[in-house]
């Protein structure tokens, strides 16, 4: 993450739903290996921003540019539907808070992971299964569970499976929407530790939406604090959390209950 060109650049992104504002003139860039946390309470526009960045939602104004694998930086809006789908299947991951949204619950764990490999052209059954096994192991899922469906998995296992499914194609950028939300604290800790290691090992760029400042501190290099659709403060994660400048950030930081 040194002097390379940014991977993703957001320029003046805005989105309004009728008269209600989802997100207002958000600009930033993210480089390979860099984790950006977007924090703020419910309704602050975090999830809208994530959907705009990942092309799931069209902005009312502004644009998102992305440096493709061929090193050409392109406006997402200029991509055809097929190109956008290909990006989603290969170079991007999207981890939902609810694993059921990111997994196919009725097919086996191995098929959930293998499906992404088949989508990028893998055809040989043996290598697909080996690829799936490698990733199940990396997310600490017992190989013996490869033929079980996610229905039979616990919440924490489902989330780890969703991560494996996303990372198997070696994406450069992963969007995460409250990846540890709804999990027990002990399960959260394990997942965070796993994500920290994977992000470092594969030099992933990630945009992580969370309302949990502890998650932001553990995972991210930089942080953006959002309120009512606007970025109120941004910077190095420890700087923003240890020396919050804006009233809203000071309120968020001071509202954490000590264990």
């Amino acid at each position: 993450m040194d002097d390379d060109a940014p991977l993703l650049i957001a320029e003046g992104l805005s989105k309004s739903y009728g008269r209600r504002l989802g997100c207002r003139v958000v600009s930033f860039s993210i480089h390979e290996g860099e984790v950006l946390a977007v924090v703020g309470e419910s309704g602050s526009g975090k999830t809208t921003l994530l959907q705009l960045l990942s092309g799931r939602l069209a902005p009312s104004a502004g644009r998102v540019r992305y440096r493709m694998r061929d090193d050409v930086t392109r406006d997402l809006a200029s991509l055809g539907e097929a190109e956008r789908r290909f990006l989603f299947r290969t170079d991007w991951g999207y981890v939902h808070q609810d694993p059921a949204l990111g997994l196919r619950m009725a097919v086996s764990a191995g098929a959930n992971v293998g499906e992404r490999l088949m989508a990028v052209g893998w055809r040989h059954y043996g290598s697909i299964r080996r690829g799936a096994l490698t990733w199940l192991e990396r997310v600490e899922i017992d190989a013996g569970r490869i033929d079980d469906t996610p229905h039979t998995y616990s919440g924490g296992m489902r989330q780890r499976l969703q991560i494996a499914r996303n990372l198997v194609t070696e994406p450069r950028l992963v969007f995460m929407d409250e990846p540890t939300g709804g999990l027990d604290v002990s399960v959260q800790a394990r997942l965070l530790d796993l994500l920290r290691n994977l992000v470092t090992r594969f030099r992933l760029a990630a945009v992580v939406v969370t309302h949990d400042l502890a998650v932001a501190r553990l995972l991210s290099h930089r942080i953006m604090v959002m309120k009512s659709g606007e970025v109120v403060e941004a910077g190095l994660t420890d700087q923003v959390l240890d020396d919050p400048r804006e009233a809203y950030t000071q309120l968020l930081v001071s509202s954490i209950l000590p264990p």
């Binding site: 993450m1 040194d2 480089h31 860099e34 800790a189 394990r190 965070l192 530790d193 920290r196 470092t200 553990l218 290099h221 930089r222 910077g235 190095l236 420890d238 700087q239 240890d242 020396d243 400048r245 804006e246 009233a247 000071q250 309120l251 001071s254």
Partner: protein, 233 residues
């Protein structure tokens, strides 16, 4: 910039507490000093004089409101007060080491991994990093049976030794030490003092806070009186 590794000029900091009606807490003003390679400068002054805040501004975990904080990074000179986050992160990987007052524990991460992490992030092979982490933990009398355990359950002194090991292990040109020997017993204090002396011999520039008079007299080449930089309240 002179041969100094670190040079502060006109540095000032003031906290504005918005939740307390915008009350202003001036911390320091007009901070100016420099630290050269191979010397250890110690910040002196009573509690609350702003010593830790100065270290945190240099490391970039506190913002600097006024002035400049120049850090030499090879052929470049970076002003931490104005640098973007990515540049500061790069300085932390390659130039500035920091031993904080307390270990910030990460759940589930083993002590030896906590210590080795900065080396691995700096690009050293994990096996080598872990071996060096083990050597330093052993020198600091952290029993090998503890290495694979997360430090959350350790005693205060054990946690501090893990913290010191994490901060001292990487070979970085500038080292910030915030009470590195607090809560250590005599034997371990001596190990840390030795390590600091060794760093100085290798040309590391060190800026430290040490309340203990004995430790201070053994590591300091020079005292910087922080009360000179008291901000007008």
């Amino acid at each position: 910039m002179s041969p100094n590794l670190l040079e502060l000029a006109g540095v000032g900091k003031c906290f504005v507490m918005h939740l307390q009606g915008g009350v202003e807490l001036p911390v320091v003003a007009g901070v100016a000093f420099s630290v050269a390679p191979g010397e250890c400068a110690v910040l002196a002054g009573p509690s609350g004089a702003g010593k830790s805040s100065i270290l945190k501004m240099i490391f970039g975990s506190y913002r600097c409101d006024h002035g400049s904080i120049l850090v030499r990074d090879g052929a470049d000179v970076v002003d931490v007060a104005a640098a973007d986050p990515r540049r500061i992160l790069r300085l932390r990987r390659h130039v500035i080491g920091y031993v904080s007052q307390f270990l910030r524990v990460v759940p589930r991460v083993a002590a030896i991994d906590v210590v080795a992490e900065p080396l691995i992030v700096g690009g050293i092979a994990p096996a080598v990093a872990l071996a060096r982490a083990g050597d330093l933990l052993a020198r600091l009398n952290v029993a090998p049976r503890l290495w694979m355990l997360p430090p959350a359950t350790f005693s205060g002194g054990e946690q501090q030794r893990v913290n010191v090991a994490r901060g001292l292990l990487p070979d970085l040109p500038l080292l910030l030490l915030d009470e590195p020997t607090a809560s250590l017993d005599g034997e371990n204090r001596a190990v840390v003092i030795d390590q600091i002396a060794e760093k100085k011999r290798r040309g590391v520039a060190i800026l430290a806070i040490a309340h203990d008079g004995d430790v201070r007299s053994r590591i300091a080449d020079r005292l910087i009186d922080v009360t000179r930089f008291a901000a007008a309240a």
